[in-house]
């Protein structure tokens, strides 16, 4: 790797103060530090050695944890297509079609967001934030495969600018950036991200008779309206095309329509395992959010006035994007609660709110997006009271 190093060293003066490209220094720096861990040494006073971790490592760990969801999402996109048009296809075909649909979305997201990051880094003279490694991957996983690419680009730019850069970059933001992108799409272009038609790519073919592209949440909500038992409505959905499409097991494994990365609870849990084992995400948030969702589902089941509410609580954990949202969105350390006590409350409330929104609000079939954003806003308040309690303990000690 010596020649790369030499190449970089040779170009360095160009970007330093007084060099021709001095304005682009942070672009150069981003490239350089991506390739080589810098040669900085510790300060003369203080810690003389440092832990091997850095933010890049932390962020790439999250990206790795998302890979199972991405791969499964690619497969499932193809899988749902061939199911909808009633054609038989092998694994390779399904995966290929999925890749053709999904990878452009990933590329557009990274390109649009990366461009914004780069412009801000140059204009505001700060290093390029690694946080975008994660955001750029999260956004494609929470949109349907049929989404127009220009919408992906627009949403990414909106989210990176409004949710992050105006606050000063990664570490300063209040809202989860990827969730903001999705919320932007949801409210600006609802046609392309809600309803029954968008989740399955049909292309120029005709769907088979009787095929419905509705998500499990929509089906369950409909059951509540019509007074049909939710589980049987789910089980009999699309009966002509596939047996038990919305069985508990099928929803857990994720062979159902939905946003690209959200359908498989199993893959999200594999991601959760990676994040928890590496200590990157807080297990407290993940555990309390799932707990909160189940508990709320259970309470609703007890108080049920319609069939949707009477649906068994554990169904809530595998339907929609709740698992993906909890594992990858709620645990974002910047926008989540920062105190350990706060994390329990924050996660729990996300679970509770998700289920409440799902069951009681007809306008929003899925609740996790709004629950996460809502609790992002409340996280500083939770922390405030936790820290206040600490101050109070200290004060009491002084006056005793």
């Amino acid at each position: 790797m010596k020649f790369l190093r030499d190449l970089l060293d040779k170009q360095k003066p160009l970007f330093h103060k007084g060099g021709k490209l001095e304005n682009l220094y942070y672009l150069y720096e981003a490239g350089e530090t991506f390739l080589f861990t810098p040669n900085h040494t510790t300060n003369p006073r203080g810690a003389q050695i440092r832990d091997a971790i850095d933010l890049k490592r932390m962020m790439i760990t999250v990206v790795i944890a998302m890979i199972p969801c991405l791969l499964f999402g690619i497969y499932n996109t193809g899988n749902m297509h061939y199911l909808a048009v009633g054609e038989a296809a092998d694994f390779g075909d399904k995966f290929l079609l999925g890749a053709i649909l999904v990878l452009p979305i990933v590329l557009v997201s990274y390109a649009a967001g990366g461009l914004v990051e780069a412009i801000f880094a140059v204009v505001r003279k700060h290093p390029i934030n690694e946080g975008f490694l994660v955001t750029g991957m999260l956004i494609p996983l929470v949109v349907p495969a049929t989404i127009p690419l220009w919408q992906v680009a627009l949403a990414t730019i909106f989210a990176v600018v409004i949710a992050k850069e105006v606050f000063g970059g990664t570490g300063m933001n209040i809202l989860n950036v990827a969730m903001t992108a999705r919320a932007f799409l949801y409210f600006a272009y609802p046609m392309q991200i809600s309803g029954d038609q968008v989740w399955t790519y049909v292309g120029d073919k005709m769907p088979v008779d009787g095929f419905s592209g509705a998500t499990a949440l929509a089906v369950a909500y409909q059951a509540g309206q019509e007074g049909v038992t939710a589980t049987s409505a789910l089980a009999s959905h699309n009966a002509g095309i596939m047996d038990d499409m919305f069985s508990f097991a099928n929803m857990f494994f994720g062979f159902i329509p939905g946003s690209i990365g959200e359908t498989s609870t199993l893959m999200a849990l594999i991601g959760a395992a990676i994040l928890i084992l590496t200590g990157v995400a807080s297990w407290k948030i993940i555990a309390s959010a799932f707990g909160g969702a189940w508990l709320m589902g259970f309470v609703l089941e007890l108080l049920a006035v319609n069939e949707y509410m009477a649906m068994p609580a554990h169904y809530h954990l595998v339907m929609g994007g709740i698992a993906f949202g909890i594992v990858f969105m709620a645990t974002d350390p910047v926008s989540a609660s920062q105190t350990e006590t706060g994390k329990w409350i924050y996660g729990f409330m996300i679970g509770v709110l998700t289920v409440i929104i799902r069951v009681t609000n007809p306008a929003y079939p899925e609740g996790i997006m709004l629950a996460v954003l809502f609790m992002n806003v409340f996280a500083p308040l939770i922390d405030h009271y936790v820290v206040q309690a600490n101050k109070k303990r200290r004060l009491q000690r002084a006056t005793v």
Binding site: G46, A47, Q48, I49, I53, P333, R393
Partner: protein, 454 residues
Amino acid sequence: MSKLIKLKKGFDIKLAGKADKQLANFQPAQTFAIKPTDFIGMQRPKVIVNEGDTVKAGTPILFDKKLDRVQYVSPVSGEIVEIKRGEKRRLLEIKIKADQTFEFEQFTKYSDSDLKSLKREDVVNHMAMTGVWPQLIQRPFGVVANPEDEPKAIFISGFDTHPLAPDYGFLLKGQEKYFQVGINVLKKLTPGVVHLNLEDGAEVPSVYNNVQNVQINKFSGPHPAGNVGVQIHHINPINKGDVAWTVNPYGVVQIGKLFMDGVYDASKIVAITGSHLTKPAYAKTYIGACVDKFLAGNTKEGKFRVVSGNVLTGQRINSDGYVGYYDNQITVLPEGDEYEFLGWMKPTSARLSYHRALGLFSFLKPNQEFVLDTNMRGEERAFVQTGVFENVTPMDIYPVYLLKAIMAEDYDEMEELGIYELIEEDLALCEFVDVSKHPVQEILRKGIELIQYS
């Protein structure tokens, strides 16, 4: 009344290069130095000797105009060879070349019964004039104690949990009677208790055997269990307006020698440690010794850094620099000023990390000793990861909130979040584990100074 406190939070950094428990035959150091920069909070140092003057061990050479009762004295007898100043004539070092005939200033000796009848004010005066006073450190702020104050208690941490820390049992072997006299003197200074904090489960060093007049507390757990600040937090925490003093066991022995033998005895054993040494061992020398003789023929190939003190709180010195006044240890590390290709992405088990994102399988080799260099291993960023600082700080304190309050210069918030309870060493582990690579100790000191001089 003695307490047993079990701490869970923290992290032991296991480094290669622990000193063998034997005194190595290093050539004796020729020059010694007193560095005003070692005394944090010394504001206006004033030298009272000139180059060429001869001094004895215990001759005053320096004082702080803001705290002029306290004399700083020469550790050895010899000649002042250099008074080194830096930018804006800032006083850096007073170098003394030791002579062959070792002479002491003679001070009054006190027998046990003399000591009993001594008034507190006389004890304070005697200590302040003879050079042992700077061993007393005041909390809050971690500065040299003010003789005008009366501390609510005095705390002594009897063990050191820092990486490659010296064994106090070895450093202070055979000093039992001095230690006891030192304790008796300290007892005169406070109306409260003198606390001696020992490691639970470990063999009690002989110097602490049968020691009277103290309350013995035991602590267990990983570093920073040996930090006196952490111990104070659990025994008798410092609130706004409180003053407590801390002293190292070496300081207690030095005070004991002053009162029993009537001399300022600066002899001490220093651990010469670090992975870059061929033979880490202990050396017998005096306060402020030049390190060149300890390194001669003892270092491995390659660039290295010499640190006075330990790797968490120490200070970089030149390879002909001087051991810090309070340090019982020097550490020699490889200098890490090299680039590494894709260093942040590589899967590796050769790196030490508190975080499992790198050390996922570190539990397989719990006793692996690491060779760490001084590379930063990343660039500075805004705070992102949460909950980590709290996990290495066994105190009821929120370090990140405190650091943010300091950055915002919010005085009320700093007080309420407990800045009075902390000095640099208590948050040194946070600086080590920080994903975002903040200079945590520097920030904390800035906050302390804001509060102290407000």
